[in-house]
């Protein structure tokens, strides 16, 4: 496996919804083990950029490379190595937390121990783990989704407002998890409106405005 330092590399990338350019020429790159914060007003294109990095939305102009692969040509090969937590949780409401995390462990080939560790990291105790997702509070669902993400041990983590809905303890937990993952070799992009908290976490902040990069700091 090649190990490029530049893990995400977008040059003048354009992504559209019908004819609306949600990304109108974004040049954006992330190096291995970085934690980058995406910031910007509502509708700036943060979610779109994350989904484009995950290969969920095609980049129609400009170039976009992830892990050295041009995702306009080949989105499949990088997929297993990317994990995304979007605005939605992606959970199965009729299953319990444990069953959801189990399902993900099976499809991505994680061990029992990894599964238990992921739940523990998000403070999901045995009692909570056996409750159905449909019976949880908003924050509890978000915790479950984060546990499903952790179990994937992706190389690139893309998180869309991971803090939203979590309580103070949950926010600290996820920040710690991200820091540890980065130091273990993962690359992390976080979109967030909790700018102060996220800036403490991130090594760099990229500001998006109206589909353009306004500034990097």
């Amino acid at each position: 496996m090649m190990q490029p330092t530049r893990v995400i590399d977008f040059v003048d990338a354009v992504a559209v919804y019908n004819d609306y350019p949600a990304l109108a020429g974004v040049t954006f790159s992330v190096d291995r083990q970085e934690i980058v914060l995406l910031q910007g007003p509502n509708g700036a294109g943060k979610t779109t950029l994350l989904r484009a990095c995950a290969g969920l939305i095609p980049v129609v102009r400009g170039s976009a490379h992830v892990l050295g692969v041009d995702i306009a040509i080949d989105r499949e090969s990088i997929r297993e190595r990317v994990g995304l937590l979007g605005h939605q949780n992606g959970l199965f409401a009729e299953l319990t937390i444990a069953e959801n995390v189990d399902f993900w462990s099976t499809v991505v080939g994680a061990t029992r121990a990894e599964r238990d560790a992921a739940m523990q990291r998000m403070s999901i105790d045995g009692k909570l783990a056996n409750r159905r997702v449909s019976e949880l509070s908003a924050g509890q669902k978000r915790r479950c989704a984060l546990a499903c993400l952790v179990v994937r041990r992706a190389e690139i983590w893309l998180l869309d407002e991971p803090h939203a809905g979590l309580d103070a303890k949950g926010r600290d937990e996820i920040d710690l998890i991200l820091k540890e993952a980065a130091s273990a070799g993962a690359t992390i992009v976080v979109a967030s409106h909790e700018v102060e908290r996220a800036q403490q976490l991130a090594s760099r902040t990229v500001s998006l405005v109206a589909g353009h990069v306004r500034g990097v700091s």
Binding site: E80, G86, E94
Partner: protein, 229 residues
Amino acid sequence: MTMSVSRIAQAVAVKDLRIELRSRIVTNQVLPFSGLVMVMFAFALDSDDVLQGVAGGLVWLATIFSLFILVQRSFAIEVSDGALDSLRVAGVNPQGIFLGKSISLFVQLIALEVVLLLTAVVLYRVSLGGAGLVLLVTCVVSATAGLAFVGTLYGGLTAGARGRETLLPLLLLPVVAPVLISATRATEAAFTSNGVTVSEGWPWVAVLAVFAAVFGLGGLLSFGSLIEE
């Protein structure tokens, strides 16, 4: 680590069936619904002679209406909270997803059909011999496999599209028409209704098998690109 197709298929099927067991949609709702559809036909037709002749057809019609509901539900699970997106991002093998969802549909449909066929046997007083039974079982298995494959294929196609609930029946109906016809004819042969003999049913089963093969293969090859944005 890439998981094998069969592991993924199994995980998906188990998940879907577990969700079904939890919500008991098939037993508590689809089954009574399709039973009612059969009663309803009887009302609309309002003639005992006709009914005995078309018992086989009614079973399969009811099955197909239930198929729409089951397929829709099978994919509602995946898209309602964006789980399908997560599966795609994670690069989970789409063939595994296709097979898994087909298996779970197959199991649910078979359960339904057994009850419907028993009902038909009892309600419409049809007879069933040994040779007929063999024909019937083969017919049910191959027809159901075809329905499960085609349902999953088109379910994936419309998953996430707006107006999905209504587009799905429109797309499925003409495609499953051959299954309806062939399965009806084979079932009639098995029941020896309308003076057909059991042996006349086998060509129809062959049609069903070909159908299942075409859509099974088609689904395996295309499902990945269908669920892609």
